[in-house]
């Protein structure tokens, strides 16, 4: 699915997107970065409330293409900068993790 489809499905917005058209093929919901590191599939979108720069570092290493920040939480500047630098897409939704995951599951 594309970022646009993702954002529309969870009433969200695209905060940052890399130049190339990003498509994700899987999703993972977790707020534990070590859990993400160990179990999130590559080329996926991460559904989380962890709105900080380490999340982007984990995504870069684990080949996660997009992060969906839940609860409409703010995106710190350093996280946004890291996402742009590393080419990780960043989205935000007012929904919580469970409901965001349900909406994405319905898309699949």
């Amino acid at each position: 699915m594309t970022l646009r489809e993702l954002a529309a499905a969870c009433q969200g917005e695209i905060v940052a997107t890399p130049g190339a058209a990003v498509a994700v093929h899987a999703a993972y919901a977790s707020d534990l970065l070590s859990d993400v590191m160990g179990h999130a599939p590559p080329e996926s979108v991460l559904i989380t409330v962890q709105n900080h720069v380490n999340t982007i570092a984990v995504c870069t290493l684990a080949d996660i293409r997009a992060v969906l920040i839940c609860h409409g939480r703010g995106i710190p500047d350093d996280m946004l900068a890291a996402a742009r630098r590393e080419g990780v897409a960043l989205l935000r939704t007012p929904l919580d993790q469970f409901h965001a995951a349900c909406r994405l599951a319905a898309l699949a």
Partner: protein, 343 residues
Amino acid sequence: MAAPPDQPGHASAAVPGDTGLAAADLAAEPVPGGESSPLVLLEMIHRLKVRDVMCTDLLTLDRQAPLKRAQELMRANNISGVPIRESGRLYGLVSIDDIIRALEGGYIHEPCGRHMTTHLIVLEDDMPVSFALRYFGRYKYGRFPVLNRGRTLVGIVSQRDINRVLLRELTREVERLERGHKGVNVGLGEGDRLYMLCEYPVVKLDFENAGKAANEIKILLRDRHTDPRVTRRIAVAAYELELNMCVHSNGGTLTFLVSNGRAEVVAKDNGPGMADVEWACRDGTSTANDWIRSLGFGAGMGLPNTKRVSDTFEIRSTPGKGTTVRAGFALQPGTRDGEAPPA
């Protein structure tokens, strides 16, 4: 009357291990001794403490001493500042500026206590030298008084003091390299040819830089067209080990080496070590505090994750000394599920 500074400087509130601009500039300077020198220097400014570089032979005065006496001390000893101390406590500092003002204002015979500088930035003796360098870069002072934990004045440090010790340590390092000794035992077998060796210092609780070594390793592998699935596994192991050292250890070194089709990530820390290694390797066990957990770490999955993604895994720990973890990888895919080599 001036009170002794309550807090040892703003520096105590800053993040440990932040290399800062001055340190980065210094590390970027070319140093004789090969490509690894900037890294050696970086490691050095993190490892060395302010107490290792400071001058402890202090010339001080009490608050009743006239400014004239401070001026004489400065001239006779070729120094640019005199700490004002009583019973070990630092009350202020008389600098050349203070003396010039006293001469202009005609109060050079008045006591130091009345005209000294009291808003002081001080360093703590157990801060890393990287801190001190950052403070020299940020504030344009020529020297900083150094306090210990009990807030007693124990020394004074100038950039010249730091340069002197760094030069001495660098000389030792070069001698050590020339003798052919490596800081980390990289565990190469006999006849193995080493293709790549990278060392990254990891600083305790330095979350700002945590993960950078793992990222660099990943880029190195990608640039050499290593299989992306193997690259991902190595990057995950490197990240987990790097974060583990950052969260749980007193700091250490992450080493990455490639030889004869194998890669190894070695995390060697400086303590505190673990009594029960088996317990630490179990999923979900952790000694991390709430603050670290709130960052999404400390869930007790680091070592199990590392074990799962690596082809060989070895951990050794001595309580009170430190822990060494080695994660090994075959660079050619094919030994694991879903990693069959291309037909």
